[in-house]
C-alpha cells in the first residue's frame, strides 16, 4: 500500500476558532483558537496518527475535516473535492465516503434504537437499501466487527463498552467509505479491550482498504497503528514524520518530552531512561503565547522564539517540524 501515493485527504492551513462572548452586551472579545493553521495530507490506504494532549485541537481538527464544525479558514480536499465550500446537502453525500468513529461508546449510540436501526441508518439515509436488504447488510456488518447477527434487535445498553465500540465501527463502515476518522476510539476502553479494537481496525483496513486518521493521546498505541504520526500542540502541528522516524529521531522539543513521558511497561527501562519533565501547564488556546506556541514550556527557547512563529518546514524527506532549533 505504500506504493500507492495517491493523496486522499489534503488539509491546508485549517483554522477553527470558537468565539468568546463577554461583557455587558455579550460582545465577542476573542476566540478560542482550537485549531490555528494545520496542514497535512493523508495518502490512500495509510494510517495517519494525530496525537496530542487534551485541548491541543486534535478532536476539533477531525471534526472540522468532516465538517461537524465549520472551519474558520483553510481548505480541506477530499480526493478532488474541496469540502469547506460545499453546502449541507452536498456534504451529506460526501459522507458516504468519509466516516467517523467517536470516543465515547456510551454516548455515540442512540439508546432508543436497535442495533439494526443504528447500523442500518446510513443505508436508509442514502436510500440504498430497504427492508430485508438492510437486515442482510447489517448482519454482514455485525459479522465483520465480530458481533453475532443475533444481536440485531437488541438495544445498545445491553452491551459493554468494547461491544458498543464495535457497533459504532459497524455503522461507520456500512457505506463502504474509503476514509475513516477515528476520534480517540479506544481511550474510553479497558486495557484488555483496547487491543481487541486495535486489531479489529487493522483487520478492517486490510480487508476494506480503508484509510484512517487516527486521533489519540496514547503515543504508544498511535505509533503501533500509524504509518505516519503528527504531533499537535495548542492548535498547531509541531512535528510530523514517519512512525519510526518520529520515535527514533524526534526533532521538536515537545515531541521529545512527550516521548519521554510515555509510561513504558518495563521497570528495567526506567533504570536507564533520562526523563525530560516539562514545567508548567499548556497555556489557554484563547490566549496563546506569541511566536512559537511551545516556547513557554520549552527548555531551549530563546528570545527569537517569542517574536516569530516558526514555519512548519520539511527537514528531511517527509519529516516536518515547526521549530527554529531543529
Amino acid at each position: 500500500m505504500q506504493n500507492d501515493n495517491e493523496v486522499l485527504i489534503r488539509v491546508e492551513d485549517l483554522k477553527v476558532h470558537f468565539p468568546i462572548y463577554r461583557g455587558v452586551i455579550r460582545r465577542q472579545v476573542g476566540a478560542v483558537k482550537a485549531v490555528d493553521g494545520v496542514s497535512f495530507s493523508v495518502k490512500k490506504g495509510e494510517t495517519v496518527g494525530l496525537v496530542g494532549e487534551s485541548g491541543c485541537g486534535k478532536t476539533t481538527t477531525g471534526r472540522a475535516i468532516i465538517k461537524l464544525y465549520e472551519p474558520t479558514a483553510g481548505k480541506v480536499f477530499f480526493k478532488d473535492t474541496e469540502l469547506t465550500s460545499l453546502n449541507n446537502e452536498e456534504m451529506r453525500h460526501m459522507r458516504k465516503d468519509m466516516q467517523m468513529i467517536f470516543q465515547d461508546p456510551y454516548a455515540s449510540l442512540n439508546p432508543r434504537m436497535t442495533l439494526r436501526d443504528i447500523v442500518g441508518e446510513p443505508l436508509l439515509a442514502f436510500g440504498l437499501a430497504s427492508g430485508k436488504e438492510i437486515d442482510e447488510r447489517v448482519a454482514e456488518l455485525l459479522k465483520m466487527v465480530r458481533l453475532s447477527p443475533d444481536f440485531m434487535l437488541r438495544y445498545p445498553h445491553e452491551f459493554s463498552g468494547g461491544q458498543r465500540q464495535r457497533i459504532g465501527i459497524a455503522r461507520s463502515i456500512a457505506m463502504n467509505p474509503s476514509f475513516v476518522i477515528c476520534d480517540e476510539p479506544i481511550s474510553a476502553l479497558d486495557v484488555s479491550i483496547q487491543a481487541q479494537i486495535i486489531n479489529l481496525f487493522e483487520d478492517l483496513q486490510r480487508d476494506l482498504n480503508l484509510t484512517y486518521l487516527f486521533i489519540a493521546h496514547d503515543l504508544s498505541m498511535v505509533r503501533h497503528i500509524s504509518d505516519r504520526v503528527a504531533v499537535m500542540y495548542l492548535g498547531i502541528i509541531a512535528e510530523m514524520a514517519d512512525r519510526n522516524e518520529i520515535y527514533n529521531n524526534p526533532l521538536h522539543p515537545y515531541t521529545k518530552a512527550l516521548l519521554s513521558a510515555i509510561p513504558v511497561a518495563d521497570p528495567v527501562y526506567y533504570e536507564t531512561r533520562k526523563r525530560i519533565v516539562l514545567e508548567g501547564d499548556v497555556p489557554s488556546p484563547a490566549n496563546p503565547p506569541s511566536g512559537c506556541r511551545f516556547r513557554t514550556r520549552c527548555p531551549i527557547a530563546d528570545a527569537h522564539c517569542a517574536e516569530e512563529r516558526p514555519e512548519f518546514r520539511e527537514i528531511t524527506s517527509g519529516h516536518f517540524v515547526a521549530c527554529f532549533k531543529a
Binding site: 483496547q194 487491543a195 504508544s220 503501533h224 513521558a261 511497561a265 521497570p267 519533565v277
Partner: protein, 329 residues
C-alpha cells in the same frame, strides 16, 4: 515481620444496587512494608479502588458494605476501629489522593483553608505555624508563589496544580502510608510525568509507603517496588515489579502485558488480545473469574477458584495452570 505496616486479610466488600448485589471485592489479602511502594493494577470494576477505600472505611455505607476481612495497621485492625479512632488514622497516618483533581477539592473553600484543616486537626499547630507549614507544603509540591496562592480557590488552579495540592494535603501530616487512587488517570501525559516524578522525589524525602492504584501498567513499572494485579475482585498475581514484567505467570497478566504495543519495536507486530470482557460481579465468583477468557483454561478452572500460591521468591499466582507448560500445576 517487624516492618510490616499494613496487613490486609480476606477483605470482602459489596454494594447494593437497584440491579442487585455487586460483589466488588471478594477476598483480597496483601501486605505493605515500611517505605515500600505497592502498585495495584487492574481494569475498571476489578475492585482495586474499593479495596483501598474499604481499608479506610471510606466506602459509602450504604450502599457499600464490608462483609469480611481484617486490615491490620501497625497491629491494630482498622476495620474494627470506632469512627473516632479511624478518623485519627485518616489523614494523619494514612492519607489518600484521589483520581479526579477537578472534583476532589471543595469548590467554595480556599486552597489555604483546605490545606490547614488536617494540620490543625492532627498536628494541633497554631495559626502562624499552620500558615508557614502550608506555604512550605505548596512549595514542596512545586507550586510557585505559594504564599499568594493560598488565598485562591480550586477553580483558579489547573488540573495538574490541583493534583499537586491534593498531594500536599495528603502529605501534610507526614503519613506512614499514602494511598494514591489513580492519581494521574485524569491528567495528560506530560502532567502525569510531572506528578510521578514529584511523588518519587517526595517518597525519597519522606520515606512513606505508597499504595498506587492504576490501570496503567506503564506508570506502575516506573514507580512501584511490588505489584499486585487484580481481576474480578481478587488479587490474581503478586510479585516484585521486575519479576512481574519479566515473567508474568497468570494468563491475565500475560494478556495485559501482551496487549500493550512495544514502544521500541521498529516493525509492526500484531497485538496479543484477551477475548471477551471483564465480568460484572452480580454473583460472587465460585470458580476462577478469568476462566471464560483464558486460553490455558483447564477443567478444574470451571469449578474451583485457585488461591494465591507462591511460584518464586515473593511471586504468588492464583492459577491452576502452569502457563509455561500449559499443564496443571
Amino acid at each position: 515481620m517487624a516492618n510490616e505496616l499494613l496487613n490486609v486479610q480476606g477483605l470482602e466488600t459489596r454494594f447494593k444496587t437497584p440491579e442487585g448485589l455487586i460483589h466488588a471485592v471478594n477476598g483480597v489479602s496483601f501486605h505493605l512494608k515500611e517505605g515500600e511502594t505497592l502498585g495495584v493494577v487492574g481494569e475498571s470494576g476489578c475492585g482495586k479502588s474499593v479495596s483501598m477505600l474499604s481499608v479506610l472505611k471510606l466506602v459509602p455505607m450504604p450502599p457499600g458494605e464490608i462483609v469480611a476481612g481484617t486490615a491490620e495497621f501497625k497491629g491494630k485492625d482498622l476495620l474494627k476501629m470506632t469512627n473516632e479512632e479511624i478518623r485519627q488514622v485518616r489523614g494523619g497516618q494514612i492519607a489518600m489522593v484521589f483520581q479526579d483533581p477537578m472534583t476532589s477539592l471543595n469548590p467554595v473553600m480556599t486552597i489555604g483553608k483546605q490545606l490547614e484543616e488536617p494540620l490543625m486537626l492532627h498536628l494541633g499547630l497554631t495559626k502562624a505555624q499552620v500558615r508557614s507549614r502550608s506555604i512550605e507544603l505548596l512549595e514542596q509540591v512545586g507550586i510557585p508563589r505559594a504564599a499568594e496562592r493560598l488565598k485562591d480557590y480550586p477553580h483558579q488552579y489547573s488540573g495538574g496544580m490541583r493534583q499537586r495540592v491534593m498531594i500536599a494535603m495528603a502529605l501534610s501530616c507526614n503519613p506512614q502510608i499514602l494511598i494514591a487512587d489513580e492519581p494521574t488517570t485524569a491528567l495528560d501525559v506530560t502532567i502525569q510525568a510531572q506528578i510521578v516524578e514529584l511523588v518519587i522525589k517526595l517518597r525519597e524525602q519522606l520515606g512513606m509507603a505508597i499504595v498506587w492504584i492504576t490501570h496503567d501498567l506503564g506508570v506502575v513499572a516506573s514507580i512501584a517496588h511490588r505489584v499486585a494485579v487484580m481481576y474480578g475482585g481478587f488479587i490474581i498475581e503478586e510479585a516484585n515489579v521486575k519479576d512481574l514484567y519479566k515473567s508474568p505467570s497468570h494468563p491475565y497478566t500475560i494478556g495485559l502485558l501482551g496487549s500493550l504495543p512495544q514502544i521500541q519495536a521498529q516493525t509492526r507486530q500484531r497485538l496479543y488480545s484477551i477475548d471477551g470482557m471483564p465480568p460484572v460481579l452480580y454473583k460472587k465468583p465460585q470458580a476462577c473469574p478469568f476462566a471464560p477468557r483464558c486460553k490455558w483454561v483447564l477443567e478444574r478452572c470451571w469449578h474451583e477458584n485457585p488461591r494465591l500460591e507462591p511460584v518464586g521468591e515473593g511471586h504468588r499466582v492464583a492459577c491452576w495452570a502452569d502457563t509455561k507448560s500449559g499443564s496443571e500445576r
